[in-house]
Subunit: 215 residues, 2 copies
DNA sequence: GCAAATTAATGATTTATTCAAG
DNA sequence: CTTGAATAAATCATTAATTTGC
């Protein structure tokens, strides 16, 4: 059970790491030097540049320039999901039914269904539930604080006050009454993304640059 | 906007939703022995029980009166990733190099490399970075509060104080100097999971139960 | 020496916040 | 202003260290 404790002398440093090939969304950006951050932001949505993930040794600099100039205007399906009425409707139904954080398979199925009504990906479903839950909660909290502050001011006539609101604004508990199960996992979302990403040409990305830490 | 403002007569309710077939990880508690990180294999990570996602509301409780008792205490051989020294070493190297939140492709590559040293999935890599970053930050904050409170008490002799610590304990900014880009995405993690999940027998899951809201 | 019992680390999830498109 | 997308913080849970009594 002891970890493989072998000397810190990292043997894998001799591995043929160097650069790997992989294909994906790296539309262009063959050059992309590490210009400060001026236009560096060029790294539009999907342009990868390892360097942009490497913290610039210098300093913070949060130059918040207007990013994407023209470079890679969004990925193929670039724009964000724009749900249709039917989709929202179905999602809300599921939500009202009690669904909160669907797992991968459920997302898969839901997405399949919703696809009938418009373009949609798994991650959209995932996010929708995530956001909807959070915002319902916010709303509830606001309400209970705004006018439910003093218990005698509440208006019990409102029909929307369901078991939920009665339950109070206690946070957790909603959908994990007991412990917590290992259940959900980031949906296959990526598959789709990857799919249409793969169409792009391959590109070599230096994941494991050879030069030592030299910094 | 204008959410479900369309009549409750949901047209999609006539769809052949009902139950869909899907297979997955329901194996119940194979006793998950704590094998060392060698032949973990299985690792079916998800136990499904729609019921646990459906709030036991006033709805038609068919038999959900104790959803979790012995039901899904599964969490199958859900062995969690147990990194080897080599893996940790490599990850730390990347971290020191400045990598913070690798994107899907990077994760893919990293995972591929680390697989040489032991079982690992994309999500493990993703999580590792997430956690490592967060905990380094915590540590730093604790330090700066504990003894670094007064800037003149720091001990510049320690070699480990690299640019990182010098940068200070500013929270955000670490790896997103500019705005925030759509860059990372939950890795293909799930693919693997799904893969070996599919091996399991199929199981019918009622994603869209037919009975109306009943409320 | 060795397991049960306890503690420390850290992997995995969920929740809260933030950002920005429309 | 609404809300999709993304990240960070908080939390939970499991495994390895370790302590302890035999």
């Amino acid at each position: 059970m002891v970890h493989n404790q072998f000397p810190r002398g990292l043997l894998w440093e001799h591995e043929p790491l160097s650069s790997l090939t992989l294909g994906c969304c790296n539309r262009l950006r063959p050059l992309a030097p590490k210009l400060p951050h001026t236009a560096t932001a060029a790294a539009a949505t999907t342009a990868f540049d390892l360097k942009s993930y490497i913290r610039p040794e210098s300093g913070p600099r949060k130059s918040d320039h207007k990013p994407e100039t023209a470079q890679v205007e969004t990925l193929p399906g670039g724009t964000r999901w724009n749900p249709t009425q039917e989709q929202i409707g179905l999602l809300e139904m599921l939500y009202r039914r009690g669904m909160r954080t669907p797992n991968a398979q459920q997302i898969e199925q839901i997405t399949a269904q919703l696809e009938k009504y418009g373009k949609i990906e798994g991650k959209n479903v995932f996010y929708w539930f995530q956001n909807h839950k959070a915002r319902e909660r916010q709303k509830q909290k606001r309400n209970s604080l705004g006018l439910g502050h003093c218990p005698r001011t509440y208006t019990p006539t409102i029909a929307t006050i369901t078991a939920d609101s009665i339950r109070g604004h206690e946070e957790r508990e909603e959908d994990s009454p007991k412990k917590r199960k290992c259940r959900t996992w980031m949906p296959e979302c990526l598959e789709e993304d990857k799919r249409h990403c793969k169409e792009e040409g391959d590109k070599t990305l230096e994941l494991f640059p050879l030069h030592p830490e030299g910094r």
